[in-house]
Each structure stands twice: as structure tokens, then as C-alpha cells.
């Protein structure tokens, strides 16, 4: 009995501690709509486009598109704890693709990490990957990329009042926070080789580390940092994006038929304005202005 009481007290105090930590850095930036009305207007492929024996036909027969993605990326692909729905730009595009192939937005998201997605694609566990998957030539040797479907860039956030950081090269010799498994790590290594990079698994953890002075700067995708700076006035962004990261849709290497099909779909939803409305519902909730011009399909080496 005594033991149970002690455990309860310890557990409660730990919970209290955790709650304190959370309160100072809210995890979810910006309201994001589920965007199901947009999906309702998304196109469906003509029966003649679903070639017999193709990957599209296999997905259609299964009645479900299996997408490799994240559940914790704000604005892009984040699970809403209240509804269980996965919301955001990447998630909505996955639903739109499912609707195009199957006729209804039936998607199963496999929570794939950066270290597993190549393997998941090549062994057929997932059909496509929508996960801020930057197209690079190294990766293009392992997987095929449709798109690019979006272009983003890395930028630098600091605590307000920090001086001496105005460009990526200023990070040399300093402790820099980055998300584990994000393109920020190689980008910092290239532009500021003397920077010490410390990484955390999720965006809220990185922000917490920045506010606790574990590092002087946080390098992350501009979209996420804009959302963070909106929520937390003690953080400010010091540069314009200093990289160009074209995001591609990861497909099985060598499946040219499916790649052509997905590229055709991407062209269609961009022409129909569906891509732009999905952007408005997700990233557009924190970035002001109209949806940007989508990048030209196939314009990046590796795509």
C-alpha cells in the first residue's frame, strides 16, 4: 500500500514537471483544417489511365493507398489527437492521390522514419512516400521521385536578442540545434563546418532546447520556423531561406509507369487549383499571401 502511494506521488510529480515543460513551448502551431472539402473536388483518374498489371491497378484493387509519412510534422503531416485524422499539406496530397487512383480518399499512413523510407519503398511496404522528402541525386539512385511537388528552404531561428548570427556562415564554432534526420544537418556541415550540431527527434523538442539555451540557433524548414515564431514571441528568424529543398514523392525505384502516372496527377491537381487550396488550408494558415507557384515537375536533378 505504502509502495503504491509512493509511486503515485512520484508519478504525479513527474507529470507536473512534464506539464511545466510543455506550457512554455506549445507543440502545435496554428490551426489546420482537415481539408476534406478540398479533397471532394479533387480529380479521379479515367479508367483507361489505370493500366492493367500496373502499380495503380494493384492499389485500386486493394482499395487503399499506403503512404509512408510522419505523424508529428506540424502543418505537413500531423495526427490530430482529438480526431485521429492526419492533417497537413503532405497528408492532404496523399488523400488526393488516393482519390485519384481509387475514387475515394482512403489512405493508410505508415509512420516511416528517414532511416527506413528507402527500404519501405523498395520492399513494397508502402506505395508512395510523402514526407518532406528532399530530392537528391544520392537518394535518386535508391528510389524514384515524382515531382517536385513543393519547394522549401532552411532558415535560422534564434532567441530574441541574440547578436552575431545573420547568415549561415556565422554558425561556425557555435552550438546549432537541428531536427534529427532533417536536411539541415548536411546543410550546416557544408556552410558552417565548424558548427557543433545537436539534434532532437521532434520540432517541439528542438524549440524547447533553443529556449533552454542548449544551442544558440535552430536551423529548420522555413515553414515550421514561421509557425514557431508566431506562437512564441521569444523566437525570431534571422535569415531568408538559404537552401532550396525540392520535395519529391518517393516511389519504388524503376517503376517508370507509376512515376509518369503520379506526375500526370500532380500536373492535373495543380492546373485545377486543388494543390493551391491544399496549401492554403495547411501551410497557408501561417504563411501570409497566396499559394506560391508550384515547382516545375521534373525540374530537379534526380526527379
Amino acid at each position: 500500500m505504502l509502495m503504491k502511494k509512493i509511486i503515485a506521488v512520484v508519478a504525479v510529480s513527474f507529470l507536473g514537471l512534464a506539464a511545466c515543460g510543455e506550457a512554455s513551448s506549445p507543440a502545435v502551431p496554428g490551426p489546420s483544417k482537415s481539408g476534406t472539402d478540398v479533397i471532394g473536388q479533387a480529380p479521379v483518374a479515367a479508367a483507361s489511365d489505370i493500366l492493367p498489371g500496373s502499380t495503380m491497378e494493384k492499389i485500386k484493387q486493394r482499395g487503399e493507398l499506403i503512404v509512408g509519412g510522419s505523424l508529428d510534422a506540424p502543418l505537413l503531416s500531423q495526427q490530430n489527437p482529438a480526431t485521429g485524422e492526419v492533417e497537413g499539406f503532405d497528408a492532404a496530397l496523399g488523400k488526393a492521390l488516393a482519390k485519384y487512383i481509387i475514387g475515394r480518399p482512403k489512405v493508410k499512413i505508415v509512420n516511416s522514419a528517414s532511416e527506413t523510407r528507402e527500404a519501405l519503398l523498395s520492399n513494397g511496404t508502402v506505395d508512395v512516400v510523402f514526407q518532406t522528402y528532399t530530392i537528391t541525386e544520392e537518394r535518386a539512385r535508391q528510389v524514384a521521385f515524382a515531382g517536385p511537388y513543393y519547394t522549401s528552404g532552411l532558415t535560422i531561428a534564434v532567441k530574441k536578442g541574440t547578436s552575431g548570427i545573420a547568415k549561415p556562415e556565422d554558425l561556425n564554432g557555435k552550438k546549432v540545434i537541428a531536427g534529427a534526420n532533417t536536411p539541415a544537418i548536411p546543410a550546416i556541415k557544408k556552410l558552417a563546418p565548424q558548427a557543433e550540431i545537436i539534434t532532437f527527434g521532434s520540432d517541439p523538442e528542438c524549440l524547447q532546447a533553443l529556449t533552454q539555451d542548449r544551442g544558440v540557433a535552430y536551423v529548420q524548414d522555413e515553414t515550421l520556423l514561421i509557425a514557431a515564431a508566431k506562437k512564441d514571441p521569444s523566437i525570431s528568424i534571422v535569415t531568408k531561406p538559404f537552401t532550396v529543398d525540392p520535395y519529391g514523392i518517393g516511389l519504388k525505384h524503376g517503376d517508370d509507369q507509376f512515376k509518369t502516372f503520379v506526375n500526370a496527377w500532380l500536373g492535373k491537381i495543380q492546373a485545377a487549383g486543388v494543390w493551391q487550396r491544399i496549401w492554403k488550408d495547411s501551410i497557408g494558415t501561417v504563411v501570409t499571401g497566396d499559394a506560391p507557384q508550384p515547382p516545375r515537375i521534373g525540374s530537379v536533378p534526380g526527379s
Binding site: 515543460g21 528517414s114 540545434i177 534529427a180 545537436i198 533552454q212
Partner: protein, 214 residues
Amino acid sequence: MSVLLDHLPELWQGLIVTIQLTAASFLGAAVLGVLVTALRVSPVRVLRAIGTAYVETFQNLPLLVLLVLAFFGLPTIGLKAEPLVTAVAVISVYEAAYIGEALRSGVNSVSKGQGEAARAIGLTFTQSLRHVILPQALRTVVQPLGNIAIALTMNTALAGAVSIVDLTAAAQRVNLVEAQPIPIFVGAGVAYALIAACVGFVTGRLERWLVILR
């Protein structure tokens, strides 16, 4: 294979951090574990209760939760240390619960008469533990301690969650650039297996060396 050779310096650095974490944490856990055992077998009821509470708390909380809580939670009450120090402290505290239980099983394996005889010739509780009970208890728990050391090695991979670039984190960073998870993680796995094999070899030798033929 070439992908491993190309990135050998980073992976090697990661391996060194993993070995540092393992060695320092095991040392810390061993010291704390002896204390926990002393509490668990103490004749004083309150001390026994504290020992039990310690073991039940840390065996029933996931290490990852403890690491993240200590790393982000303690600075909010003014306790901030280097990431490596935090990780070593947390892993030590966590593994001490397991080491404490392993040691207690050893203490219980020493026959009651030994303790009674020690007390009868006038040794205090601490003296009887130190000179009579623990030396015998330690011999019987060499294998379980070795297993805990191996589990601890694997557990150090969680330190990547609090910004430490150990072998697993280093492998993840290499894979981020090269996108060849299978050779990279098989390579890292082989390194972990080698550490485990070394620990197993040492405990095997230790056990034969310490054996008392009765």
C-alpha cells in the same frame, strides 16, 4: 560496404561515444546498485521501503521517458548539465534498479547462517555485508550483471534522443546523406554485437576466475 568505409571517421566517433556512455553509466549504476541492494536488505523497515520504491519506480518507467524528462524538465527547475552528463546520470539511475535487483538475488543466495554467524562474531550490518555477504553474493551474479551490461549498451542508443551523437545517431546521420539504410545499420548492428560479445567474453572469464569449488 563502401558507404561504411567512406564514413568511417563519423561512425568511429559514434562508437567511441557509445563505449564512453556504456562504461560511465555501468560504473555509476554499479555504485548506486550496491546502495540500492543495501537498502533492500537492510534491517530497518523505512530503508527497505525506500529501496523498494526506488526499484519499482525506475523499473516501471521507460528509459526514454526518463531521459527526455531529465533533459528538458530539470533545466526548468534550474538544474542544467551537459547532455552527456545528463545521459550518464539518467542511465546510471535507471540501470541501478536492475543491478540492485540482481545483487539482491545474489545476497539472498548466500545462506542465512552466514549472516547470522557474521553478526554473532560482532560484525555490524555494514561490516557483515562488506566482508561476508557481498563477496559471496557478487560471485553468483557475474552472469546476470553481464547481461545487464549488455542491455545497458543497447539502451545507450536512446541517448540520441537528447542530442548525443552515439553510434546509432551517427549511423542515422550517415544514412541521411547516403540513403542506404541496410548496409549502414547492419554495420552499426555488427559493432553493437561486438561490444556485447566482448562483455560476454569478460563475464565468462570472470565467472571461471571467481568460482569457489565447494
